[in-house]
């Protein structure tokens, strides 16, 4: 009579084996149909499903509204799915692996006794964080949406922004135990094929226990792990990812983390903030230049100060030198130790401020900054001039928009300081030169990291051209379709051509 292979019992045994009886698997038995009822079993994992769907749209119709004899029907699964299950997304299949994959993602499976097919119903639910503004990346005049942990929501946000038919969503499942979903998004006719193949290859070759954090995935697929500079851009904001997809890059969304990645990345884009594109032209250019000056100051100010007071004192005019000497009388430490100590203390303050709850962090910064700094000067540990210079460079280091890059920049200060102490100006020149060499040799997915010979890109590197002039996509990222906008100020210039 009944094929034992397709019996409900065997299904249930199979599923229990695969999923594990201790992992919140719920099995609901149903009797459906008039007359001789058919045995059905509904399986889902508690916590991942939205029980409203199950109660209202699966159980109610099946248990209460079937007024006919369904026992013995051909293709019962298909019939039930089309007739009685009032949900928008149902799939009928006999592939047990699909069932296993789907049930782990919050779908429910309806097994039918003695039928080879079963129904996969989309009942994804569960509690997730709502879409809100990111706490780390704030912009004044931009959409306040940022990614959440739920992959579906994230994908929907991107889909809303780019309605082009060439937008491709490729799905990977990575990680032995975490089995996270990773989506690769790109525009089919704009992104470069070599680059996308490269990314695809690297993603597929990840073979680890867990890959459910953007940091981990990033480290697995990047080119040069030993480099100080990040080679993949990560962000929480939707508009940043959307603009990068439109430029020809690929975006990577990972289930379970609100950080999205964008590859390939080039050096300049880490210093562009989102407001640059939303605010006025002249104003943002001025502030962009200020930003670059600030970054230069972060890396070079303290080492240059050290060099000037220790090695090349003949450079400062006497009028400035006298106040410096005045402030340095009777200081206990040598200049290098002074600077190093103060930098260390400020790094402590910064790290501490990150981990404490926000109320205490505020007190800490006030206490730390003012009291520690003030007392250091009073007790003659450091000189006021040193404190001033270090304060400037610390404040300037917060200017970098991207968090990872600001960490890198802040880190570079320390080797530069040591080099300046050992070798003087030669050390600083050496430091900058090695940095440059390293930047030139870095590549991100086959794309040169720091390309300066793409002259058209000057429209958007250190300063930005007016928006209506940026007609072509940036050359540093390889792409197939070059034109991104045509004349769109025709109403102003009259009927030319």
């Amino acid at each position: 009579m009944a094929n034992t292979e397709y019996s409900l019992k065997s299904y249930i045994e199979l599923m229990k084996n695969e999923i594990g009886t201790e992992s919140l698997l719920v099995i609901k038995h149903i009797l459906a149909g008039k007359g001789q009822p058919v045995d059905l079993a509904l399986m889902y994992i508690d916590g991942l499903v939205d029980k409203n769907f199950i109660d209202r749209d699966i159980l109610q119709p099946l248990m209460l509204h079937i007024d006919e004899e369904i026992n013995g029907k051909e293709n019962l699964a298909d019939y039930l799915a089309k007739r009685y299950i009032a949900l928008s997304n149902t799939t009928v299949t006999s592939n047990i692996n699909e069932a296993i994959i789907n049930i782990k993602r919050g779908n429910s499976i309806l097994f039918i006794n003695n039928q080879p097919n079963f129904i996969i119903v989309d009942t994804k639910g569960g509690e997730y964080r709502a879409i809100e503004e990111s706490t780390v990346e704030i912009a004044a005049r931009a959409p306040k949406e940022s990614f959440v942990e739920n992959l579906g929501t994230n994908m929907s946000m991107i889909r809303r922004s780019i309605r082009d038919k060439n937008l491709v969503f490729e799905r990977f499942t990575i990680g032995q135990r975490s089995q996270s979903d990773i989506i690769l998004i790109y525009l089919k006719d704009v992104a470069d094929d070599d680059v996308i193949n490269n990314i695809r290859e690297r993603l597929s070759s990840i073979d680890a226990d867990r890959a459910n954090s953007s940091g981990i995935v990033e480290k697995f697929i990047e080119d040069n792990t030993l480099s100080i500079f990040p080679q993949i851009y990560s962000t929480e904001r939707v508009d940043k990812i959307v603009s990068r997809i439109l430029e020809g890059r690929a975006a990577i969304l990972i289930d379970g983390t609100p950080m999205a990645l964008s590859a390939p990345a080039i050096f300049m884009e880490f210093f562009h903030s989102v407001e640059d594109y939303y605010d006025r032209f002249i104003v943002t250019n001025a502030f962009r230049i200020i930003r670059f000056i600030a970054i230069f100051i972060v890396i070079t100010a303290a080492p240059a100060y050290l060099v000037i007071i220790k090695f090349n004192t003949e450079l400062i005019p006497v009028n400035f030198l006298i106040p410096i000497i005045n402030s340095r009388m009777d200081i206990a430490l040598s200049p290098f130790l002074e600077i190093f100590l103060m930098e260390l203390i400020i790094e402590f303050l910064r790290e501490g401020g990150l981990r404490l709850p926000s109320k205490i962090a505020q007190t800490l910064s006030v206490v730390g900054g003012i009291i520690v700094g003030d007392m250091a000067v009073e007790s003659k540990f450091v000189s006021p001039t040193t404190l001033f210079i270090i304060g400037i460079s610390v404040v300037a280091s917060f200017v970098t928009p991207n968090y990872e890059m600001s960490l890198s920049i802040r880190f570079i200060r320390f080797p530069m300081l040591i080099l300046a102490n050992t070798l003087g100006v030669l050390g600083i020149a050496l430091g900058w030169f090695s940095l440059l060499l390293h930047l030139f040799s870095l590549e991100s997915f086959g794309v040169p990291y720091f390309a300066i010979n793409k002259y058209r890109d000057l429209k958007d590197s250190i300063v930005r051209a007016p928006f209506w002039k940026m007609d072509n996509r940036p050359d540093s990222v390889p792409h197939k379709d070059d034109i991104r906008q045509k004349r769109n100020r025709g109403w102003k210039w009259g009927k030319k051509k």
Binding site: I309, K310, T313, E314, V318, I324, N326, S334, N421, T422
Partner: protein, 369 residues
């Protein structure tokens, strides 16, 4: 084996640092002795090597104020004098931050080429340090205490730097200018000459040099004319005074052009001076601004007066001082060839010099009182 790599790497790094830091003795800024000005003197011992002495006016920086103190040391060479100075000072001597170098009269008369050689060779010395010659010994001038300034050197620097406002001085009395002028063909050095009068330091005039030796001092009146003839684009005051109450002052910019011709082995120079100025004081003719012919008359008067004075000065130069301070030789060398063995001083003495002065008044000020 892998773990040993880490240890070896660590040892190597520490060793590298120790290696690079070893033997480097550079002290921080508060351990340095910084001078405000250095004066150089020469004493004739009558036999053998002259003793050179250097007086350094050194800053003493304390919490509340900045003072200075002088240290004089002697030696057969400048290097030896420095050596002795380090023996007397409690901090490391840093050369190169001084504002002005004062050269004593004796030394200037003897010749300053050894001084300039030391300056030129040392890379730490700023080439924009000011130079001047003083009356008597530099040591004595530096002893002067001037209120409001930690050291006399600061005051002297100010005097020299702002001399360019009046008196037609130019702002090129720095080391780099000395280097360039001493050795070039047809060029001669001049430096300001300072003295002490009534306990205040002032510029007395111009010291003129032949090669590296000072040969004469021009007092201020003559120095003014020398400057007008020598420099281009300098500013100063010109006055026409008929009697105690009738005078006209012009604050003018003077531009100079020189043309040189050679006829039958004799050189002829045309010096064209153009004065453009604004009236500073007018007790001569009221409302000059409304009277164009009176204005032209005033301009002509200025021009004629200046021409007369300048010609008198050149005559003086030829007969009394006999040096080509006006750098005319340079113009001639540029036109007729260098290194031909011609002595430009001699050429200057034999040459015919014509002066043309034009004057233009272009500003009258706010009003006539």
């Amino acid at each position: 084996m892998r773990i040993y790599k880490v240890y070896i790497g660590l040892v190597l790094i520490i060793f590298t640092f120790a290696f690079f830091m070893s033997g480097v003795r550079r002290d921080a800024v508060e351990q340095l002795a910084i001078d405000s000005a250095v004066g150089y003197d020469l004493e004739d011992t009558g036999h053998g090597i002259e003793i050179r002495s250097s007086t350094a006016s050194r800053y003493l920086v304390t919490r509340n104020e900045v003072k200075s103190t002088n240290i004089t040391t002697r030696g057969e060479t400048i290097g030896k004098a420095r050596e002795e100075r380090q023996r007397r000072i409690d901090k490391k001597i840093l050369i190169g931050l001084e504002k002005v170098y004062i050269i004593g009269e004796n030394y200037a008369k003897h010749g300053i080429s050894d001084l300039l050689d030391i300056f030129f060779r040392n890379a730490e010395i700023r080439d924009s340090t000011l130079l001047c010659v003083c009356e008597g010994k530099a040591e004595d001038i530096l002893k002067l205490k001037i209120e409001g300034y930690p050291s006399a050197g600061d005051y002297i620097e100010g005097i020299l730097r702002y001399s360019r406002e009046m008196g037609f001085f130019k702002d090129n009395y720095m080391l780099i200018d000395a280097y360039v002028r001493i050795d070039e063909e047809g060029r001669n050095l001049v430096l300001p000459y300072i003295t002490v009068k009534d306990n205040i330091i002032e510029i007395y005039g111009l010291a003129i040099f032949q090669q590296d030796r000072m040969v004469a001092v021009l007092p201020m009146q003559k120095a003014k004319y020398c400057n007008i003839l020598r420099e281009n684009k300098v500013t100063g005051l010109l006055t026409l005074q008929k009697n105690s109450d009738d005078y006209l002052s012009l604050f003018s910019l003077s531009k100079r052009k020189i043309k040189c011709r050679r006829e039958n082995g004799k050189y002829k120079f045309d010096i064209n001076i153009k004065l453009i100025g604004q009236i500073m004081a007018n007790d001569y003719e009221p409302l000059l601004i409304n009277k164009p012919d009176k204005k032209r008359e005033a301009e002509a008067m200025f021009a004629a007066d200046l021409k007369q004075e300048l010609e008198a000065f050149i005559k003086d130069l030829k007969h009394e001082y006999k040096i080509d301070t006006l750098e005319l030789g340079r113009v001639a060398a540029a036109k007729y060839g260098r290194n031909t063995g011609v002595d430009w001083n001699k050429v200057f003495l034999d040459s015919e010099i014509k002066i043309n002065v034009t004057c233009k008044i272009n500003r009258f000020g706010r009003g006539d009182f």
